[in-house]
């Protein structure tokens, strides 16, 4: 039982980060139809900028804020300079653009900062609590709490504010949204900014646990994308559930089966789910118009 709890704790912690990456994918996909493979780089930037701003003497909260602002500015720049000029291009072309952007961001980070691994001191103590025989790090709770906070804030934003409703309207039907006077370009820009912010917060929260380096974004983007698809692309709830599931699957298969095949189990389950439910867990089946 303590073992089970231990794996559950670590799975949920990693899963919360995957969920945040998947949420970022979902937001941008809904607003613009773009699969943004640079999503993992926002997480990486959140961690790296915080580490270096902190090392340069800024207090931690200010360093984290710097990282957040940096990521948002880069997210907006990505939209304005790379995605918007290519409007109307095929989905594969847009994917290649975001992959190019992620290579560029990785290269830039390795030059501006360095190629080493970095970590941050935990935000609330190093001593784990013992819960049911398993160790729970305070930082894990911060990650989970932070992720839950982001999900709640996002839910409030999307359903209770006029701007949020404009985002939903754009996702539902871009042309109709334009007809009722929504500036859909601004909405797409906004969704890039929000996605970048969510990714950066994920990076800031997880760096004390998992380390960060200039190339840590690739794997996160991959897992986040898989999680978003597992939940059903375009469904924020699906993204969160998918992220947590991928994290838990990894932790349990690493613990009970084999750590070198932990990703294999996660992907086998994803493949299995997709074979039974080709639209993911929460996705609606679309109707193809001929």
């Amino acid at each position: 039982m303590p073992e089970f709890l231990q794996f559950a704790f670590s799975g949920l912690t990693v899963g919360a980060i995957y969920a945040l990456v998947a949420l970022g994918f979902t937001l941008i996909y809904n607003a613009s139809g773009v699969i943004n493979f640079a999503q993992g780089e926002f997480v990486m930037l959140g961690g790296m900028v915080t580490v270096f701003a902190h090392a340069a003497g800024l207090p931690l909260p200010l360093a984290a804020l710097t990282a957040l602002v940096t990521a948002v500015v880069i997210g907006l720049a990505l939209y304005r300079l790379a995605i918007e000029p290519a409007r109307g291009a095929s989905p594969v072309t847009l994917i290649i653009i975001t992959i190019g952007a992620s290579i560029l961001l990785r290269g830039a980070t390795s030059i501006v900062f360095d190629k080493n691994f970095h970590s941050l001191p935990p935000y609330a103590g190093r001593d784990p609590w013992i819960v049911g025989g398993a160790a729970l790090l305070p930082q894990s709770l911060i990650v989970l709490g932070g992720a839950a906070g982001i999900v709640a804030a996002l839910w409030y934003f999307l359903t209770r504010t006029l701007t949020g409703k404009a985002v939903l309207a754009t996702a539902a039907n871009r042309l109709a949204a334009r007809l009722v006077g929504i500036n859909t370009n601004a909405v797409v820009g906004l969704s890039f900014a929000v996605s970048a912010a969510i990714g950066a917060i994920g990076g800031i929260l997880m760096t004390p646990i998992t380390f960060t380096s200039y190339d840590s974004g690739t794997l996160l983007a991959l897992k986040g994308f898989a999680a978003a698809m597992l939940g059903g692309m375009g469904n924020p709830l699906g993204a969160v559930v998918g992220g947590l599931m991928v994290g838990l699957l990894e932790a349990f298969s690493a613990g009970y089966i084999s750590s070198s095949y932990k990703d294999a189990v996660a992907f086998l389950v994803i493949l299995g789910v997709l074979f039974l439910m080709p639209q993911g867990l929460f996705g609606r089946s679309g109707v193809e118009r001929v």
């Binding site: 290519a86 109307g88 594969v92 290649i96 991959l222 193809e288």
Partner: protein, 310 residues
């Protein structure tokens, strides 16, 4: 006259054969010949992938898995099992079995399923150390054909070059055949194709298996050329590289795939002058090319010159 010649799918094959035949005379050193052989090997994989992505419209983010199976087949087969390297072609059977269920998925769901498939293959190569040497990889035994030891850039340039020409010719045949027409119909709309009586699942599977075999042959060549194979051959980044080559050069164009492969093999060689800025430059090239010629280099160039059928 010129226009009609250029528009024929076989023109590309002819031009390619001439270029492959003449190129070695123009290359100043063995180093360049090595690079040319690499281009031919990667181009072969991309020509196959182009049949799947460019014509059938099915995006695969896991083709490095097949590339890796080809590479490991020529290493593991002779070393552990005593079977000849032709075993690499078993990938056709694997692709057939995997393709059936996977190809039911559409769009991004297919992308993530192929991605998972590729990762599973890569993980097996990295973890089954007893067979594959684990993360460090394993040496590939040299192939002997009628007492002729196949090694060195010259040998492999000719093998890869000739195979590329044959591969492009087969692709041109497929594209010009009813199969090619069916694939294009599926690309435009699966539902409409189905209504027209096209067996969508069957044609998608044909394109998938064909592209997997191209990738496996290319992977086998790379392994035998290098004399060493590591799990990176099957990695996610390699899959992305293949798709990038196909898209940069131009989806739906065999020549485009070859140009894309040449570009992405040459760029890192050229960009080494930028040292640390190599990745920035590569990312920039990808973004800029895709913004200004979203259809890819070759199709955009062709329409600029007025060679493209409207």
């Amino acid at each position: 006259m010129m226009r009609r010649f250029v528009q024929s799918p076989y023109a590309v094959v002819l031009v390619l054969a001439i270029v492959v035949a003449i190129l070695p005379l123009l290359l100043p050193s063995l180093f360049y010949l090595r690079v040319a052989a690499l281009i031919c090997i990667f181009a072969l994989a991309v020509v196959g992938l182009n049949l799947l992505i460019g014509f059938a419209g099915q995006v695969s983010l896991g083709h490095a898995g097949f590339f890796g199976i080809g590479a490991y087949a020529v290493a593991v087969g002779p070393t552990h099992l005593g079977i000849p390297p032709w075993l690499a072609l078993i990938v056709g059977a694997i692709a057939f079995l995997v393709g059936r269920p996977i190809l039911r998925l559409r769009g991004h769901y297919l992308a993530v399923a192929t991605l998972g498939m590729g990762l599973l293959f890569a993980m097996v190569f990295a973890n089954e150390s007893a067979w594959t040497g684990g993360p460090d990889g394993m040496p590939v035994p040299r192939l002997e054909l009628f007492g002729w030891r196949m090694a060195g850039p010259w040998t492999w340039y000719w093998i890869a070059g000739v195979t590329l020409v044959i591969g492009a010719w087969i692709a041109a045949n497929v594209i010009a055949s009813p199969t090619g027409r069916a694939l294009r119909a599926i690309h435009d709309s699966e539902t409409a194709a189905q209504v027209l009586g096209i067996d969508v699942a069957r044609y998608k599977l044909i394109a998938f298996v064909l592209s997997a075999v191209y990738a496996a042959v290319a992977g086998a060549y790379l392994a035998m050329f290098d004399g060493l194979v590591t799990p990176e051959v099957a990695g996610f980044l390699r899959s992305i590289e293949f798709v990038t080559m196909a898209v940069l050069g131009g989806l739906g164009s065999t020549l485009g795939g070859i140009v894309g492969a040449a570009l992405l093999v040459l760029l890192p060689q050229l960009l080494t002058v930028f040292h640390d800025y190599e990745h920035i430059a590569l990312g920039l090239v990808m973004i800029v090319v895709m913004i200004f010629v979203p259809a890819g280099i070759v199709p955009s160039l062709a329409s600029l010159l007025g060679w493209r059928r409207s």
